[in-house]
Symmetry: D2
Amino acid sequence: MRVKLIGMVVDSEKRREIDSLRQSSSTTLRATVPEVEEILYEPYPLLDHGFVRVIDYMGDDSAIVQAARVSYGRGTRMVTEDRGLIRYLMRHRHTTPFEMCEIKYHVKLPIFVARQWIRHRTANVNEYSARYSILDKEFYIPSADQLAAQSSNNRQGRGDILTGSEAKRVMEILLADSEQVYDHYEEMLNENDQGGVINSNHNGLARELARMNLTLNYYTQWYWKTDLHNLLNFLSLRADPHAQYEIRVYADAMMDSVKRWVPIAAEAFSDYCLESINLSAAGLSVVKRLLAGEEVKQDNSGLSAREWRELMESLGKT
Amino acid sequence: MRVKLIGMVVDSEKRREIDSLRQSSSTTLRATVPEVEEILYEPYPLLDHGFVRVIDYMGDDSAIVQAARVSYGRGTRMVTEDRGLIRYLMRHRHTTPFEMCEIKYHVKLPIFVARQWIRHRTANVNEYSARYSILDKEFYIPSADQLAAQSSNNRQGRGDILTGSEAKRVMEILLADSEQVYDHYEEMLNENDQGGVINSNHNGLARELARMNLTLNYYTQWYWKTDLHNLLNFLSLRADPHAQYEIRVYADAMMDSVKRWVPIAAEAFSDYCLESINLSAAGLSVVKRLLAGEEVKQDNSGLSAREWRELMESLGKT
Amino acid sequence: MRVKLIGMVVDSEKRREIDSLRQSSSTTLRATVPEVEEILYEPYPLLDHGFVRVIDYMGDDSAIVQAARVSYGRGTRMVTEDRGLIRYLMRHRHTTPFEMCEIKYHVKLPIFVARQWIRHRTANVNEYSARYSILDKEFYIPSADQLAAQSSNNRQGRGDILTGSEAKRVMEILLADSEQVYDHYEEMLNENDQGGVINSNHNGLARELARMNLTLNYYTQWYWKTDLHNLLNFLSLRADPHAQYEIRVYADAMMDSVKRWVPIAAEAFSDYCLESINLSAAGLSVVKRLLAGEEVKQDNSGLSAREWRELMESLGKT
Amino acid sequence: MRVKLIGMVVDSEKRREIDSLRQSSSTTLRATVPEVEEILYEPYPLLDHGFVRVIDYMGDDSAIVQAARVSYGRGTRMVTEDRGLIRYLMRHRHTTPFEMCEIKYHVKLPIFVARQWIRHRTANVNEYSARYSILDKEFYIPSADQLAAQSSNNRQGRGDILTGSEAKRVMEILLADSEQVYDHYEEMLNENDQGGVINSNHNGLARELARMNLTLNYYTQWYWKTDLHNLLNFLSLRADPHAQYEIRVYADAMMDSVKRWVPIAAEAFSDYCLESINLSAAGLSVVKRLLAGEEVKQDNSGLSAREWRELMESLGKT
């Protein structure tokens, strides 16, 4: 049974290619995860034209256990033992067994998101080349509920949603400039989107140059492959509330694929990383004093005002 | 004596900061290279607003030798022996001793160049954040002699230089669109380039969103640090005639800094990598047959037409 | 049909675990390679007690093409086009598409081989822990035809095979010392190989300490996972005649698995890397002069005696 | 003023080489740290024959700030601002600015320690080659107070110190086997430690084979270079009480060198990493209930017995 994830993010030709892949199954002796097979090749639709889809995977929860034990078989222990071991490994930062699972995604994403993403270096990447090929006319325009003002207290964050004439004007600018730079891109290339020459007296600017006229909201695509440990590291930074919304939606979709793929590791990751907090030396000292019944205020805590506020929030005391 | 590399790529305030660094010297027991000290902190001006400058370095030619020998001192052998060892290491791909030298650059470069550059993963990078700060109004416009047509036989290459009305129109587009997207960037941010609010009834779009309206020729900056082995690998790909001109100028400037820093390694790199050719199994067989006096043509060479052409060019037979 | 690779490198319990894995197949939509499935989990027996076996794999030749094209489907072009593209990518060092295939091995190998192997950093590793567990009594003794003298002209190489009393004495030493250090290991652990306590008045030395008494020919094991590009890099160094025999046998077996897995890439690797030669700037100049009919000798070649000899050998002129 | 770290870990020839390096200073414009210059090249003596010494370094605390700000100068802000920024970066896992500092060590260490150490992959390494050269007769014997029994509750840990006849016997074994394997190593090489041939009728076994007869407590050496971020990661694992004593002493000495080199970053690392604790989702929930005055026991805590014990220890409630 195929899970239907997708609306209209791929056109009918690509839809046929995906369907064709989903119809040709093979027999394998490798570890196989039915919950991932269900969504294999299927795009998770994201933003207005983006997606992420699982292209291939290697290993499952048992592969983590198998590598940690350097065992000959797939692991003959009981499921509860495997779960205990995976949680132990996660808790104690024994990260190498998680590197034994590998996953490959095909991602379509705005260039400004790609520029954040690529900073994660421990991955394999093949990106669509605008030096070699012509980019499609596809660009990202935020939805109205994501058109946020600059945060007043966080230089990297968003504040209130823009409304009224300001919102309207921003939308107009983004849309009109995106349209215009692409029209000019085609004009400089001297090629329209059906591949026809526009002006037969012109040569057309080199692709590697013409691309520089496109704005950072244009979509690019890549194949991106990494191991589970490095993927979780990516997710812990990019599925975080402080991450920019436009990359967080990708991280959230990938987190869903991880839950299908390695549910025990995903749960351990949630418990010991995503939902955990780090108590600094000074923060720990505050907690100990509070538990001893002492009255502690920021000014006798040894913490800065900001750290104090963060600690109180973590402890649910605000 | 300071070598004067720069015209006007930095403004007077930055010039003062650089001068200040160049006036405060220290005493050190570390390996020191006067030829690099001469240019330390000084920008090599590149393209219209870009630069690369050496910020720091670790090691010299002797450090390669010292590590290869795991020696206690800096190396007491004669210079000719050191040179022989460095050339031997380069020739036989003993790459780890070259990793013992490290260099740090500050680079200002167009975003589309940064996107190629960042694909070299074995490096440390800190980029100026357009999520956190506002980008300057600085964009790249190719000079007239770099305004090339798409190559007709190489999808990744450039052909003839555009002239006349076509060149004029391309220049107009690049310039006007670059100006326009920045004006709109400021308008959406609701902040002009003196930092003043434009419309007091507006909030200003979040920086992390507004940046998406900029085109890929806008300049960004980063600190980029790597070891000599990985730097040479970068240079072998980016100082190559097939590399895009706009990244090659950076590679060429960095190659100059490498010649100052580790002249023996730089020469070995030139002889055994940059100026060398790789003969495939089939290509080697052709060379052997030619040396034996045999008449060899493409159709009895075992090479494709393209490989044959490349081989004949390498051998200077065209 | 299962290919029988193995003699007695695994005991009957491990044999059953492997058989059990080989009997439980699944259905998958992933790219699957029957030639690898044939040998999946089966050890290639190597040296006296070692092996390498493929535990899992991701991708096939088409996956390289698919990533290079950032395509939606698996590749609908003709096989000849795919082959051409793979060869082009290999020839021009476009290495990233080869990173899209991943393979995982289980390896049993002497510690001194493991110490060479681990220098390849771009891989994932889980090693059997002698801090946590007790090592088996399994050590490597070279066969008579590998008991080589030190090479007289290559400080890293082997010369003639030892014979007579010298060979006999070396064998005696290696065998007796290996036996003795293990007996003492057990004695210090205060545990014999059935797990029974030897001396009930003793505590037994910590495992993390006792292991230091073992010699470097003891076998260890690991799971080792890497991508195809980095694997080929490993093979180009370790399947080379200059590599130590004891690691070369592993590289040769792995090369066999690569030929099964990605035959087109393996062939391209052979043609453009393994069987290719690099001509330095000076070497290329010699070849050009020879082709022009000039008489060239070492002393007017610009090459050192050693480089001249290597070049003449490459060109088959000795 | 030179700090005297060393007893007799290097012989007089090496002492002279080190002294010679320490007497030849240069002038540099690079960031320089007097507290590191004081100990540059000087070995920290460790274990019975080991050491670690700083060979070179790049950057200082300001270099972290400079890279985080992508600034032109070295940083003109006040020290308190720099300190605040470094602590902020450490607290929020903004790790890349810490990669902008680099350090190079020369380390002499037992092979079994080297095997743990090399698992940290993000580093540059050149090791003394026992394939190429002959190893010195230097091996590690634990001091009496480190001769620990296997821990009864931690398979990777140490328990009580061995005493009496058991301690005596372990010492005898380690010493005698270390001596014997080296004597046999020389005999097989057919070379004594003055380099003289032992038996003129013998060829001598190849070095790459003879080395396999040495035990894992023999000392090896390497140059090891890494950036500050990866060094801190190494230290957080290896300066930890759960790390094996024989590697922990190296980590402790390196931590001392870090405090000299980048004192502000070192302090932040101590506060936010070394001395911090991680509270899992379930652990955080327990703390909140305790702070609310609730009675919480292990059986109603949602924690395993082991996690409960660890949490109570962290909170100082045992």
